[in-house]
Amino acid sequence: MRVVIAEDLVLLRQALCRILVQDGITVVAQVGDADALVSAVVSERPDLVIADVRMPPTFTDEGARAALILRERFPELAVVVLSHVVEPTLAMRLAADRPARFGYLLKDRVLDIDDFMAAIHRVMDGGTALDEHVVAHWLGGAPRAGPAALSAREREVLGLLAQGLSNVAISARLFVSERTVDSHLSSIFVKLGLPPSAEHNRRVRAALAWLRGETRANPDVRPDQPI
């Protein structure tokens, strides 16, 4: 697996590089700004890009903008964006309606190396990795759907799903069986009026779209109707 790292702070970039290398990943290029990142991607054609949101020269959102361009230009390219601060709106904009092969994580997450690597692999395998702070923000701001409001457990499951975790990972995180997670998920999708789907990526996308308030309840499926 071939990776390009874009991070202006050399110390951090090297440390990141070492973690990846230890995990058997090939780092084909390390760059310090957005322009170099785009060049490196064009010349090296990596499988994954890890990019800092803020980079020289203005330290605002160069990395994020480069990530948008790259995802547009290379649909097969997996992108993980790292940020010092949680910017939920930016994260959602980047994920857009194409959360597959995308990750947005707080930089501190690298300290939990196992979780971080799991997220990297998940994104590389076509999945999603959204920072829990981002999901929590959108989950907090999401409209509460009256009597059909999700139970606390269901909100938890929805949050983990939106982060990109698989059913197995969710069940491991919550110490419950996979079957239980399954039944929670189908209940959530009915309550939110989302089209049921067995495919993980489409479920994540639906969950994110709902969190952003884009999907309105499906009038054909009343949440309070027995199924």
């Binding site: 202006d8 702070l9 110390l11 951090l12 090297q14 440390a15 990141l16 070492r18 973690i19 230890q22 803020r54 330290f59 010092h84 601060v85 930089k107 501190d108 690298v110 300290l111 190396i113 929590a136 923000h137 989950l139 907090g140 701001g141 606390a152």
Partner: protein, 638 residues
């Protein structure tokens, strides 16, 4: 100047000598009314006043007529003295005696017409026709009218057939007493600006002759009705009716040199005062005679009554006259009255409305302190006042300006809205000050925000990144080490570093958001609660706390809520801020798992240190049945 004084003194001596000659005939035994001391005295006073005023007036046309009046009065006085002695005391009956008696009988005709000429001249009307007629009539009277007081004395021309014609010819002359008032009151309608006050004064003064004649006639009628008519009363009445108008009119014309409402007030005081005084004197004489107790009591009572009512009456009379003569002022007064207390609450707007009523394009500009230009009623700034009328304050300094084009006379209107404008100037100054303070604060806030963003960026891209890199190195070292104890130490170190990084992030991004500085703690906390994934109830006082207290309190709640979200798995959080005297108490209560310990979490420990640095105290306790209560006490006086 000396010569003029000498001339005046000589003139006065001649007049007084002539008067003495007339009175001496009375005391020599010849009494026919014209030489009665009371009449001669008022006539003398009239001569001296009209001549005195005539000399000092700068208005040439009025001065000329007034001097002519004085001359006519003096001629009248002189012929009275001459006739009394020559025809009366000495008993001559020749042509000279007949001429003198004729002149003494008709002398007042021309004098009274000349007084009207003064009024006409004062309002710019020609009096030639009137005077020609009066002169002709006087001459006819001198020649044709006999005087009953001089028994057996024939007129110069003996023509009894013409006598009735003379009486008919007298009617236009009598009506001419109305010439002055009519001309003056008509002139008011077309006079504008400062001239209006003068015209108003002339109009008021011109009523004096009519008033005095009416009062004299009424008192004579009263005397007849009470059957107390006597030569003394007759003489007094005649003296008042004839002499007083000249004295008061001359004094009024002197006062009319000045302009402005004050001069009008003074003139009205003189006129109303003398008319009322006349009523008092006339009634006192008649009633005193009737009561047989002398004139003392009625005079005292009357004078007190006049003194008591004059000021109030005068103010009302002056105001009504001013409003009557100035339709724009009357309109302004009505609008101001209509606006009432509400108008005074918004003085600039009310004054602007009144002015715009006169001229839709007129705009009131209020001078701002320290040469900061001008502000209109809406608070817009104008560097220059532009063309128009300046408005001075009580000390004569220009404190406002009415911008308008063309010839707009605002004197009367400004007198009505002056108080509003004064209030508006104060209001504009205060508003200007507030605006400057707000702009200053906005600039400072903006600078602080820019500085904060710079600091935030430096922290993220510098310190935070280095710490993170270091923590990552340690983490990798921990994984590579075989020694379990060493791994534990490194793990702890990474945790501490991680906590430090998080604290740094809070510090850099969450210290004082815009909403906290602008709208206060309550608004900032409600905003925070909307951004959190669990329901948060916020209770906070509406009043602002000191900025330092608000900043710490906000930080405390941010940290506490973050902790709750991270560790407590709470379903609900309650945040409450109360202020008790010198202290503010912030409580954050959740219904989560509880068991928070200051020693365990570095977040809580860091928070506690921050609070004690600010002079406050942090206490964490478990709630029953479950949950955590964090209570922070912060000082409010810094």
């Amino acid at each position: 100047m000396k010569g003029s004084v000498a001339l005046r003194s000589a003139g006065a001596i001649v007049v007084l000598t002539t008067a003495a000659a007339a009175v001496s005939a009375y005391f020599a035994g010849f009494r026919y009314g014209g030489d009665a001391p009371v009449f001669v005295m008022t006539l003398t006073a009239a001569v001296l006043t009209t001549a005195g005023v005539g000399i000092s007036l700068t208005d040439r046309s009025v001065a000329r007529w007034l001097n002519l009046t004085a001359a006519a009065l003096f001629a009248y006085l002189a012929t009275i003295a001459a006739a009394s002695w020559y025809a009366g005391v000495l008993g001559h009956r020749d042509l000279l005696a007949r001429s003198l008696v004729g002149a003494a009988g008709a002398g007042y005709i021309l004098a009274i017409a000349l007084l009207q000429a003064c009024f006409l001249a004062a309002v710019g009307r020609s009096a030639t026709l009137l005077i020609c007629y009066a002169a002709a009539f006087t001459l006819a009277s001198v020649l044709l009218l006999p005087d009953a007081a001089f028994s057996g004395l024939e007129p110069v021309l003996h023509a009894p057939a013409l006598e009735s014609a003379i009486w008919i010819a007298a009617l236009p002359w009598m009506a001419s007493v109305l010439a002055g008032p009519i001309a003056a009151w008509r002139a008011l309608a077309r006079t504008r600006g400062a001239g209006r006050h003068r015209t108003l004064m002339i109009a008021v003064i011109s009523l004096v002759p009519i008033g005095t004649v009416l009062f004299a006639a009424l008192s004579a009628l009263l005397a007849l009705a009470l059957d107390v008519m006597s030569p003394a009363i007759g003489e007094t009445g005649q003296a008042l009716a004839f002499g007083v108008p000249f004295v008061v009119s001359a004094a009024g014309l002197y006062g009319a040199r000045f302009t402005g409402p004050e001069a009008v007030a003074r003139t009205v005081t003189v006129v109303v005062g003398s008319l009322i005084g006349l009523v008092v004197v006339a009634l006192s004489v008649v009633l005193g005679t009737w009561l047989g107790s002398g004139a003392l009591l009625p005079i005292v009572i009357g004078t007190l009554g006049v003194a008591g009512t004059a000021a109030g009456v005068r103010r009302r009379v002056v105001r009504q006259l001013l409003l009557h003569t100035d339709p724009m002022r009357a309109r302004a007064a009505a609008l101001v009255h209509e606006a009432g207390a509400g108008g005074r609450a918004a003085p600039a707007r009310t004054a602007q409305v009144v002015l715009a009523d006169l001229d839709p394009r007129a705009r009131l500009l209020l001078r701002l302190p320290q040469e900061r230009g001008w502000a209109d009623a809406e608070g817009n700034h104008h560097p220059e006042p532009g063309p128009g009328t300046s408005v001075p304050d009580a000390d004569g300094r220009i404190h406002a300006h009415v911008r308008h084009t063309g010839d707009l006379d605002l004197d009367g209107v400004l007198a009505e809205v002056g108080m509003l404008i004064e209030l508006a100037v104060l209001e504009a100054a205060v508003r200007d000050q507030e605006g400057r303070v707000a702009a200053e604060r906005a600039r400072a806030d903006h600078a602080a925000a820019v500085e904060r963003r710079r600091l935030e960026r430096d922290l993220h891209d510098g310190v935070q990144g280095r710490l993170l890199a270091l923590a990552l190195e340690l983490r990798m070292a921990q994984r590579e080490l075989g020694d379990a104890a060493a791994r534990l130490v490194l793990s702890d170190a990474v945790d501490r570093l991680s906590a430090a990084i998080e604290e740094l992030r809070t510090l850099a991004s969450g210290t004082a958001p815009e909403i906290l500085t602008c709208e206060g703690l309550g608004a900032a906390l409600i905003d925070l609660s909307h951004r959190m994934p669990v329901p948060i109830t916020v209770t906070a006082p509406a009043a602002r706390l000191p900025p330092e207290t608000e900043a710490i309190a906000y930080l405390v709640v941010c940290e506490a809520v973050t902790n709750v979200l991270k560790h407590a798995h709470a379903g609900e959080v309650q945040v409450e801020v109360t202020r008790t005297g010198e202290y503010a108490v912030v409580t954050v209560a959740d219904d989560g798992g509880g068991g928070a310990d200051m020693r365990a979490g570095s977040g809580l420990r860091g928070l506690s240190e921050r609070v004690s640095t600010a002079g406050g105290r942090l206490v964490v306790s478990d709630r029953r049945p479950h949950g955590t209560l964090l209570e922070v006490t912060l000082p409010c006086a810094w």
